[in-house]
Symmetry: C2
Subunit: 400 residues, 2 copies
């Protein structure tokens, strides 16, 4: 296939070909992390879609989830088999309309897709950080995002948006940098991870620690702790799916036959087993085991109520308009969590919209079922811009 | 503490001191397993409580769950720190009243607490079976139970009862040996394991397979695959608890401090993590990794609908009175499963009682919250006996 015909296969409402970008922040003074440790310089991998307008008030920052990356939309090459992870939501005329908004997405601090993380070279030693990398929090990730936005010349974003760990970043951002965003869209997330969620993260990390290839985190990049990381992913993947979606997609169907193999070493007797093994294998090709440790731990640590005396007091610090979205089949971040958050935001007198969406895909719904998301996000962002313009007009009038 | 004072500490409604018993079955002709393979002789470890009456019609067989054993009630020694696993339910005047019933509990085939399993010595080789042990089904376990009951001189049991994997045994028993029991009590179980349940079993087994100490199942008994088995238990344990019970018991409380340690190698930052590690460590002291593989796989395989053309057709083969109990917070065997089973039993015209019990402990409720169980089981068994006596009277009248 020639490049031109491949390009013509990219739909018109796509952002099209995009360039990975990179910048180095915290060069002069390092970032002080929540742990008290410092880190710098920090390389940040990011992408942008659409154009920053003259008023510099149309920025929308997308926060990715646990194993996501900066490549949220478009394709890097005309013949890329797949576009960015949230491509159906981001583009000309799409839910986050790149004709209207300047969209930014950055790989998180501690990640492994271009932003400084445990797999990066420590400039002071010339070797990979590995587990000498400092412990991270969601707040630390957001501090880097926040600095990136300032470095792009944007004082105030129109909105920040994210699902799961991305939603935690949105909440942290709205509370710790209240002047930096007009809207906060929190999807399939919560003000903290439940004890059950911590438990699942813990067994995933245990799988990595127990892999002999782990070598105390100083594993050979040529032979990473594949078994441990794949198992961690397999465990986590179960929590991303709803029981109904597993039942519908795989049920109790066998992989190779309609008769049991009765072979105790056969690990892919059922289709669901084969699927999980496939997910595990794919994951180790793209993800760093040490990053997985740091990012899941940051997720465990996140607890908005700890920012102040209570959840409502933490929420009181924010000034953004909130949109809280949950899914009826999500059991990792159940709707009850979103209700608690919404209730605390209301108690704090904040502007908040809350909606539980019906979707059978469980926690992963926000990555799959895009149309219902787009239908809610589009008007919410539009109303936010209108509100911001009224606010700007009032400010101008006041200063006249 | 002297023995006599310890004995006096055993409550009066306990079965008191009990003797582990053992018998060897399938000596002359081996058991033909569902896989077509044969196995024999088979040693069966069992215990009995109460006395078999003259009519030999007061037997109640207790089927244990995945990692249970034959020691369901009483103490082996006066100074045993803990009684059998279902002790609060079984004893004089208790839910299963040993003044009335002769209670039998046996370790399952493939287990590791006295009944022949992969850790037993294969008489043909003089070495442990390990993975040369044949693949098992729930039906194979029940075939052994059934033979044990016959060997005790009991033609027809008053009831069989079990939770979780034990409930599957009860269902198999009622369908495959319909004349052998008058009642079938199925608790926190179902007619099959859900695809999600298979997924959790699969990741647990993966943890064992991936442990270098596993050695293809031929591990050294002095250095078993501890990490893998402990991790399998940790994963499974999460599914035994309800989200609410984890939240209530542990919440997000930290183990050693009220401040995060920010140490990426610390695996017990949160109390729930410490608890899971403790569960994992305790489990490897008492359980055989190979048994865990065989028993979880048998659980995956179980599917009552496969016994005939449909679930209702399988149920039609049974003749017992059924009592189906579920727990509102059990997400491994949710109430919806028990409803499906009850519906199929009704469709097949069977006598069935169904009750969803309220208990916050999730799947493990049947091992913890005994009083509500006892309140339902006591009258159900009593009614079954009355019904059996009427049946016997009718048979006598008919034959006069």
């Amino acid at each position: 296939m020639s490049v031109s015909s491949a390009q013509s296969a990219i739909p018109e409402d796509s952002v099209g070909l995009v360039q990975p970008q990179s910048t180095v922040l915290f060069q002069d003074s390092p970032l002080v992390l929540a742990s008290g440790q410092t880190l710098g310089p920090i390389t940040v991998a990011y992408e942008t879609y659409g154009r920053l307008n003259e008023a510099r008030d149309n920025g929308v920052f997308v926060c990715h989830a646990l194993t996501g990356d900066a490549h949220a939309a478009g394709r890097h090459h005309a013949d890329d088999p797949k576009p960015g992870w949230w491509d159906p939501l981001i583009g000309p005329g799409r839910g986050i309309d790149t004709n209207e908004y300047f969209v930014i997405c950055a790989n998180v601090l501690g990640g492994c897709q271009g932003t400084t993380g445990p797999g990066s070279i420590n400039p002071q030693t010339g070797r990979r950080y590995n587990l000498s990398f400092p412990s991270l929090t969601v707040g630390d990730m957001v501090s880097v995002h926040s600095e990136l936005v300032r470095s792009l010349g944007i004082e105030r974003l129109c909105g920040v948006i994210g699902g799961s760990l991305g939603g935690m970043q949105v909440l942290d951002w709205a509370v710790r940098f209240p002047d930096q965003t007009a809207a906060a869209i929190v999807i399939a997330s919560g003000h903290h991870l439940s004890a059950q969620g911590i438990a699942f993260n813990a067994v995933g990390r245990r799988a990595i620690y127990a892999d002999p290839a782990f070598q105390g985190g100083s594993w050979d990049p040529e032979s990473p702790p594949r078994f441990g990381l794949a198992l961690a992913r397999m465990i986590a993947h179960i929590t991303y799916l709803s029981e109904d979606s597993i039942a519908l997609k795989f049920g109790r169907r066998l992989q190779d036959s309609d008769q049991f193999a009765f072979d105790i070493l056969k690990e892919t007797e059922f289709r669901i087993e084969s699927y999980l093994h496939h997910q595990g294998k794919r994951f180790v090709q793209r993800f760093d085991a040490n990053s997985y440790l740091y990012l899941t731990r940051a997720m465990d640590y996140f607890d908005l109520a700890r920012y102040s005396g209570s959840l409502a007091e933490s929420c009181a610090r924010a000034s953004a308009r909130f949109l809280v979205l949950s899914y009826d089949t999500d059991w990792l971040f159940p709707t009850s969590q979103s209700r608690e958050l919404t209730s605390a935001l209301l108690q704090a007198g904040k502007h908040v919209s809350f909606l539980e969406l019906d979707c059978s895909f469980g926690h992963d719904s926000f990555l799959i079922d895009i149309d219902p998301l787009a239908e809610v996000i589009r008007p919410f962002l539009k109303q936010t811009r209108a509100s911001e313009q009224r606010r700007a007009a009032r400010t101008r009038t006041d200063s006249q």
